[in-house]
Symmetry: D2
Amino acid sequence: MQVHIFRRPPVGRRNLMRIHGCFALLLIAASMPASAAPEVGKSPWGPADEIGRLNLMTAESRAEILKQSDASQAYDLSVDYFVGMPSWHGIGDPRSQYWLTHTPRGTEVDDPMQVGRQANSRVSYTGDAVSMYTHMGTHIDALNHFGLNGQIYNGFSADEHLGDRGWRKAGAETIPLIVARGVLIDVAASQGRAMLPDNYRIRRADLERALMKQTVSLRRGDVVLIRTGRMARFQEGQAFIDKAPGLDMDGARYLVEQGAMVVGADNLSFEAFPSDDPVNYVPVHTYLLAEHGIPIIELAFLEELAKDRVFEFAFIGGSLKFRGASAAPIRPIAFRLVKKPE
Amino acid sequence: MQVHIFRRPPVGRRNLMRIHGCFALLLIAASMPASAAPEVGKSPWGPADEIGRLNLMTAESRAEILKQSDASQAYDLSVDYFVGMPSWHGIGDPRSQYWLTHTPRGTEVDDPMQVGRQANSRVSYTGDAVSMYTHMGTHIDALNHFGLNGQIYNGFSADEHLGDRGWRKAGAETIPLIVARGVLIDVAASQGRAMLPDNYRIRRADLERALMKQTVSLRRGDVVLIRTGRMARFQEGQAFIDKAPGLDMDGARYLVEQGAMVVGADNLSFEAFPSDDPVNYVPVHTYLLAEHGIPIIELAFLEELAKDRVFEFAFIGGSLKFRGASAAPIRPIAFRLVKKPE
Amino acid sequence: MQVHIFRRPPVGRRNLMRIHGCFALLLIAASMPASAAPEVGKSPWGPADEIGRLNLMTAESRAEILKQSDASQAYDLSVDYFVGMPSWHGIGDPRSQYWLTHTPRGTEVDDPMQVGRQANSRVSYTGDAVSMYTHMGTHIDALNHFGLNGQIYNGFSADEHLGDRGWRKAGAETIPLIVARGVLIDVAASQGRAMLPDNYRIRRADLERALMKQTVSLRRGDVVLIRTGRMARFQEGQAFIDKAPGLDMDGARYLVEQGAMVVGADNLSFEAFPSDDPVNYVPVHTYLLAEHGIPIIELAFLEELAKDRVFEFAFIGGSLKFRGASAAPIRPIAFRLVKKPE
Amino acid sequence: MQVHIFRRPPVGRRNLMRIHGCFALLLIAASMPASAAPEVGKSPWGPADEIGRLNLMTAESRAEILKQSDASQAYDLSVDYFVGMPSWHGIGDPRSQYWLTHTPRGTEVDDPMQVGRQANSRVSYTGDAVSMYTHMGTHIDALNHFGLNGQIYNGFSADEHLGDRGWRKAGAETIPLIVARGVLIDVAASQGRAMLPDNYRIRRADLERALMKQTVSLRRGDVVLIRTGRMARFQEGQAFIDKAPGLDMDGARYLVEQGAMVVGADNLSFEAFPSDDPVNYVPVHTYLLAEHGIPIIELAFLEELAKDRVFEFAFIGGSLKFRGASAAPIRPIAFRLVKKPE
């Protein structure tokens, strides 16, 4: 069982973390209520709100970004789904499965439609099915994916709103079509590397430096996608997942402060592991999803954008509306912008 | 087993069909080789081609349509996925399933990450999985979905190219991002109806009349979406599927002649059942997919477009790249056009 | 959605039930604590017990029954599993699925073992997978299947013992191999019928009359299997399930009093629907499983036993040890007894 | 991907094998037709036969073995099924999955039966589902699992008899209830070991030596179960599978000659890998299943039998009747014999 990434590190390293941890707590103290433990955020968009910062998207913001778009090239930000694809299954979550339910030869033998052999051999029928963990391939985490103390963003509690068919609140089906300014922060390239080192923790300074090199600045309402370069190992299976670089809490705070509407990266877990919070094994997830109502895109395919140095773009994407789900696959499109938006 | 829709109709009706059938054969005769039985099409884009008419999409066509788009409203052309959703399962194909793999309370009991009870109760984790027939919800049929005589479009044979993990050719992962002019043909509205009657067969004349009323004409490279109005019954389960109206071969031929790149509708099966071809139970599918290389979108949600009488639009969509699959879900977006394209 | 069987009946019938209900409450009053609502039973075998009445089985009881067995004929008490088999899916539970993961031709195309085409075509490999609701086909309900007020038999609570991988207590894996005296109560035959009428409620008097006709009496520790004759419709799908005859609470009490260790029947739901308890939609299940620790076998195939009038037999069966599960499939064997046990 | 066990070994070892291989071919030559490549066996029980050597079981053989049985102890020969259990998934076959479809708290939120909150909280409902590769946990391989040259045992061809819902011939549902003499060959113990070494190949001499030490001899119609001791690693996941000891072709021939009706072992693959036949990666499987019609039990739990030195026993088991499947789970029972059968 590959649960080690969540386990607390050996003692030497833990001391180091404890120091970091203290510093972190101080920082949090400024923005959090007196209680030490963080609580889920209350939505500024009201007690019924289920989509958090996606409320930043407006008719104007959509129209504005699309007006600047050049669709002559459509960048595909998604990976393939296939049997054996790397995914999160350290604690038994189902792997990607694909199977055939009808084949040209099989229908000749079975005649499921009762049309006779001649008709089956004339019409060569292929049908198939898939099963998958919802956090597989390029996907977006819904706000209900991680909560705090039994509640998710905006105070919906599991006991009241989580049924056997998923959440009655903030499920993937509530995620609207996203049309927004996208920004690529190519951290790997900004450091002159093809890929960030194993376990690299991306911090605020890394993001700022990369943005400066790219001469791009973030704006409120952006879809911010961070490139670690890890995608190069996607075909290698488990090697893609183990010790992947990711975002540190410090980097996450920067994105929140800059007004990001959606964040994402090209790795599986978005955040850096192991956590440096002894009672929270996914502090970046709970901070973004549960405290700030910011969905997270994982496994974004950013290689083509990076190669062409397209750091600003129109991001267009609709994730599948899996009712009640904690995530859904998405195949986003990016278009270059013809001119710098003013 | 609900296979009746494929069975041949009772004798009285069959005589009628036989006449239609003869007429149909005459029509086909004009465009087909001497051999009576239709064969898969050869792609004009060469022997390696796997995407058929999607080759009509170019950098120019994409840029052109997007330039005219107004994104202030983003029309969502997709339905939700949920347990119990109507889908094709008359011959045993798996229904939509959703299940939780991690819940806030369950992780407290199981402690799958071995982080201890306090950490589990702090971080309220929800994870989930889905399984589905690939032709479920709003989806696009890949060219390998139906072939003829053991081959699919462009002559790839099942014996050589169909493995246990799906087709090595023309799988859903080959379908590019689609950015194209979309046209809604609202046949129901053109007849002053909310919904076409049960078993209504949409013919060329129906399409022409609707287009004339809409004062829209088709162009080469369009994504053409036909509205039957059936979507009103989507929440009713099996009633959505039984006796649904659909496209007749005669209507399909019209779309092919007009140069459609992709076709679709708001019903499940696209085509009208039962078939009037005694040895082909899905003649419209084989005609479009296998003979002409035209993918088919099914279960498109067209209600908002219809209500707003948006008959021309920018269609933007990326179907999931299920490797080897015969279809994939898609959540397409439509944007109004600001001015009539010249 | 086929949930109607659980819904409360129309008013006329409800009045009738109310009367029955009162009578029932009086009966219960005798054996239950002062509180009106039933509570889960406490095991006489101690607070750690997870198997309830299966504790009645001993080395002696096993040896005794086997000694009398004649294995020249092995009665197969199980049905087949297949795609489309009737099962409980009124509220979305997954149906029986079967799919091929490897086929002789598919492995030639895919070469998953990387052995080359010659080796694949030499060795014709077939592999396959299944998925199923655990209460499908001939199966046994574990004691955790139904509880009362958040607890299961012997007081284990869901909040403490139900994780995302099932129950930590009383899961199907705890059900021991069963070797015991089996008794068939052929209620249908005792009434001179091939099958009991739709919605027939089997009561104490029905059981007593059938046993008298069979000249068999029940003993403590028996596996008691009731035949309704419904199995004749098993191949008809939904018709097997709708309005099936079943056991009434009154009949269930009789079996408990007689000391049954395991009970079962040839229908899907064991008990008669609709329930006549307004706040308990499965009173027989909760009574047997949660109050008395008696597992229930459903979908037992009893046709051969009935035809040969084998009313007493050795029952031998091992259900699959699905860890944590609320039921598991079983393929029990019955052997005639050579002489009446004294 | 863990396909290495099938790949041909490095050159040094291959030379050794080539010699063995030649010897093997000589041996085979005696019993095979002139053609070098083996063919599927023709059943002595006629052209319609689908169960091969299971035909050896008769009313007499069943009665005879049961008469000698002492059921005071029931040996459970099966392992548990659970998420994360070791299984064969080197080429993408689905792992064991378990999920909850109904829970006490979830039904309170969802109210799937439309009975109201009070009724849901009164009746604490748990339902669940599983999915699995059919060759998972203790299971029996059907004769269709491996064939030769496109056919399975008795000449049934895949092209004629393999549909999308499995084989129309020799599927798991055809396997009868098995009541037979069982023999444990504890090879590990016979060598004074708890477990055979990694990659140990069990040969004829090993089997003979163990039987001699046990003073047991094989008879026609036996269920022969070989103990490697590997079961000790079952909870360790992949370590259970990698480099497991197994049966060599030489050992398999011995069992066939001795008249075994069913064979089995406590490892996953039964046979030793890698194969020493360059064009057959599973020669023992094809030899037993396809040439001789002998089903194979894998993952048998033999630890208790071994501890008690029960080398002869009554074997009673019914595998699930998965229609068309290449294997099915089984939970067999073993009873000691009271006296040596004459």
